[in-house]
């Protein structure tokens, strides 16, 4: 079965600091994508970053980057220079072989001033 696990229900970070959110997954697929979505208090789901499994280079989008360890099936999100607007719930997600996204349980991130 394909599963996604986020083991940190809540995290906090000081403004301007760096924080890393963890995600592990399980799949027998070899070629796939991984995603991080952000859900701010408005509850909209916003794509933050995606990683293609066949690419060894870690994806980067401005202050957001991932540490993708394919063998370990780990896909963590690093947020550098944290800003107050980064306060949100973050979901790791993995598309099943039928195309639907499987989400982790989410990590609530609080950025403190």
């Amino acid at each position: 079965a394909q599963t996604v696990t986020q083991s940190q229900p809540e995290m906090s970070v000081q403004e301007a600091e760096t924080v890393t959110l963890s995600c592990t997954y399980d799949t027998s697929e070899n070629n796939y994508y991984l995603f991080w979505y952000k859900q701010p208090p408005s509850r909209q789901m916003i794509l933050v970053i995606r990683q293609e499994a066949y690419k060894q280079q870690n994806a980067t989008e401005n202050r957001f980057s991932v540490n993708f360890q394919k063998a370990a099936k780990s896909f963590s999100l690093k947020i550098s220079d944290s800003q107050l607007g980064d306060t949100a719930m973050y979901f790791c997600a993995f598309p099943s072989n039928t195309g639907k996204l499987i989400f982790g349980q989410g990590t609530t991130l609080q950025v403190k001033p």
């Binding site: 509850r43 909209q44 639907k100 989400f103």
Partner: protein
């Protein structure tokens, strides 16, 4: 940038009433999805829809739920007889079939359903 549009943003209904949530996916997208999120919990898959039929549904998507694409643009989720536990945020999402970004789901802003 193209977006998925959902209406209503918030609906309050009495238990046992029928509810229809509406979605307008991005125009060149061919796969459509409904997800549900009970407050503070994970986002759960309900159903996927392609080529005018359900391609996959979860165990949550029982006989009380149905989906329809009545006019080629709208994509609706109907709950026939709402229960208290149907109170949640419902997200519509869509994606392309081919090309770069075909694997990316674009989500609507969600419809919040409150069942009293």
């Amino acid at each position: 940038e193209p977006e998925v549009t959902q209406t209503p943003s918030h609906q309050v209904t009495q238990m046992g009433q029928e509810v229809i949530l509406r979605c307008v996916p991005i125009s060149n997208h061919l796969y459509f999805y409904w997800y549900r999120q009970i407050l503070g919990q994970k986002v759960e898959f309900l159903v996927s829809f392609y080529n005018n039929e359900i391609s996959e549904k979860s165990e949550i998507f029982d006989d009380q739920f149905s989906v329809e694409r009545p006019d080629g643009s709208n994509f609706t989720l109907k709950i026939r007889s709402t229960k208290l536990e149907d109170s949640a945020m419902y997200f519509c999402a869509s994606r392309r079939r081919e090309g770069r970004g075909a694997n990316v789901l674009t989500f609507g802003a969600g419809s919040r359903l409150t069942v009293l």
